[in-house]
């Protein structure tokens, strides 16, 4: 899941450039902390965090190739997936557990998020917003499953099995008793949606969203 998902979403930045969502995530992480990136791909985000914030960076990645690339770069990454491998970690093992463009590809998003909130003091989740106007338009006017630049694979050949909208995600955080410390939505051009806009505006204009969460208790 994670490997194939990462390649399909939010990865519109050209090779070598830093992805917008990565910069947003980096802006939510404090220096000198312990970070676990679940579905870390080739380790680009971990490298960014390690290099700029001196974090103790760890990762989990499903694809052998991604893991090998990461370890060859000197990152601490294990082969595994979000659904089964978070269970082994003890409570509060990390300051931040990050799930970047991966939640829609997990089998049990709710359990994954609950585990993230258990093993990390904070959870950071970025995901493609299925409530974005362009996606709604494809379904409403064309009657077809949406295919966009960032979600380019057809319905029968995508690892993304659990899409959600920003509103859906906010509801899930409530069910899990998580507090939203920060939230950012970015539009198709990578610009941030106005912070004080109501949720419905975010849900319409935000192509991706990044949430910083915390356990309420």
């Amino acid at each position: 899941m994670a490997d194939t998902a990462a390649g399909e979403t939010a990865g519109s930045a050209p090779a070598g450039a830093v992805r917008v969502d990565h910069l947003l995530i980096a802006g939510m992480v404090e220096k000198n902390t312990r970070v676990l990136d679940v579905g870390c791909g080739d380790g680009a985000l971990l490298r960014l965090l390690a290099d700029t914030l001196n974090v103790d960076a760890r990762g989990i990645e499903l694809s052998q190739r991604g893991v090998n690339d990461c370890v060859a770069k000197g990152l601490s990454v294990i082969q595994g997936d979000a659904d089964s491998d978070l269970l082994d970690y003890p409570d509060d093992a990390f300051d931040y557990v990050i799930l970047s463009q991966t939640i829609q590809a997990t089998r049990h998003p709710s359990k994954v998020l609950a585990n993230m909130l258990r093993i990390g003091r904070h959870a950071i989740v970025s995901f493609p917003n299925f409530g974005h106007w362009s996606i709604r338009a494809q379904l409403v006017f064309r009657g077809r499953m949406p295919v966009t630049k960032n979600l380019s694979r057809p319905w029968h050949d995508t690892p993304n099995i659990h899409f959600c909208t920003i509103r859906d995600f906010v509801e899930l955080t409530g069910e899990l008793d998580a507090k939203i410390s920060r939230a950012v939505a970015i539009d198709t051009l990578g610009a941030q949606v106005r912070v004080n806009a109501p949720w419905w505006v975010w849900n319409l204009l935000g192509e991706q969203a990044v949430f910083l969460l915390k356990r309420n208790r």
């Binding site: 103790d56 760890r58 052998q64 893991v67 090998n68 990461c70 370890v71 060859a72 770069k73 000197g74 990152l75 601490s76 990454v77 294990i78 082969q79 595994g80 491998d85 082994d88 970690y89 003890p90 093992a93 990390f94």
Partner: protein, 390 residues
């Protein structure tokens, strides 16, 4: 003298007078064995490569596998072949002897100069044979720690090894967590599986069924259980490969003939290959040492030493781990490595885990596998940066 006889006398000399550096520990410094007895005197034969830096912070200990020895990266004194890990260890190699001081010692119970069943028992003037107490992986590691003390090294930068060597790596991290900066266990497990014990038992029974084994006292009677040891090696060798690799390399191809001979000759190439593996092995290895090595692996159960919880073995382990497995390894399958990784994660240890896709089976850790080299290089270099080793 025949060549075979010359080889055997060379092998015997190697047991008591190895072509390696040697350190000897006397009774006051005995090795305390898990079997509950002290082993003294203890001789440890070892090889080193590269130079120890002034801070003594760049030492890498290589732990060898069941039938390996200390000759990691030099011409083997008996076989004349290159060292068993020359692809991995040497100038500019992933374990770079231009930067690191690499040490490898023959394990206790072995037959290449460290005290083992073929060594002369000073009490009797004859080889120990089965009078040597059964040794364990932990005993091997204790002996290595004595050697490291002798070399004046407080903390090893890295401990690395595959298979039985990987077991020693795990034992190092559990027994001496403060003395290891990073650990590289490859194609190994935290315990020997039932299937693996079963294969070892077949090998041991083959040796003991050889009339020339003589209850382990073959040296005294001037014979050697070559047939039994050879069969043990043949059976074991199959477990080091994979069905796919055997099929690809040998298939059902016939050996220097066009049709089956309707006999029990080695008609098939795979038969001929295995017979060669068996007969060349007996030239360099001692049958009793094979019994001791296999037993040590069978007894290995790291979790068992820590109340059945593997995670407890690594509590407080500050060291970084890189666990490596191979897809076609059915002796130490990926699930064994995953169990280690899960236990380390449970302790929130710094761990990397790579499963490398190959059809080469268990032996892949000894072979030319570019992904293994890239992984090792990345892991070692990152650790060296963290450790401020030039």
């Amino acid at each position: 003298m025949s060549t075979a006889a010359e080889n055997q006398s060379a092998r015997l000399r190697e047991v008591d007078e190895p072509q390696s550096q040697v350190v000897r520990f006397e009774a006051g410094n005995a090795l305390k064995l898990d079997a509950g007895v002290d082993l003294a005197p203890l001789t440890i034969a070892y090889q080193t490569y590269g130079a120890l830096n002034a801070a003594k912070s760049n030492a890498i200990l290589i732990c060898h596998a069941l039938t390996g020895d200390q000759h990691v990266a030099n011409i083997h004194p008996l076989t004349g072949k290159p060292g068993w890990w020359e692809t991995m260890v040497g100038p500019g190699k992933p374990i770079d002897t231009d930067r690191f001081f690499v040490i490898c010692s023959n394990v206790v119970g072995g037959c290449m100069g460290t005290t083992g069943p073929a060594s002369t028992n000073p009490a009797t003037g004859r080889p120990y044979g089965l009078d040597l107490p059964v040794v364990t992986i932990r005993d091997m590691v204790r002996a290595q720690a004595m050697l490291i003390d002798h070399l004046g090294i407080d903390r090893l930068f890295c401990v690395a090894g595959g298979s039985m060597g990987g077991m020693q790596v795990l034992q190092w991290a559990a027994s001496y967590p403060e003395r290891v900066f990073c650990a590289l266990p490859i194609a190994t497990g935290a315990r020997h599986s039932s299937q693996n014990i079963a294969f070892h038992e077949v090998g041991r029974q083959a040796i003991m069924a050889d009339p020339d084994w003589r209850g382990g006292r073959y040296f005294d009677e001037g014979v050697r259980p070559f047939k039994g040891l050879s069969v043990a090696r043949m059976a074991a060798h199959i477990t080091y490969l994979s069905d796919g690799a055997l099929q690809q390399k040998f298939g059902r191809k016939l050996q220097n003939r066009d049709a089956p001979t309707f006999s029990f000759d080695a008609d098939f190439q795979i038969e001929s290959y295995l017979r060669h593996q068996g007969s060349s092995f007996v030239e360099r290895f001692d049958a009793n040492a094979y019994l001791y090595m296999t037993r040590a692996m069978d007894y290995f159960d790291l979790a068992g030493d820590y109340g059945g919880k593997l995670r407890s073995a690594f509590v407080g382990a500050e060291c970084r781990f890189c666990v490596v497995s191979f897809t076609s390894d059915w002796l130490f399958p990926t699930s064994d490595s995953r169990a280690i990784v899960h236990a380390l994660n449970a302790g929130a240890a710094s761990v990397s885990f790579v499963e490398i896709e190959t059809d080469k089976g268990h032996d892949a850790f000894l072979l030319d596998i570019p992904e293994l080299f890239a992984t090792t290089r990345g892991f070692i270099n990152a650790a060296a940066r963290a450790c401020a080793i030039a």
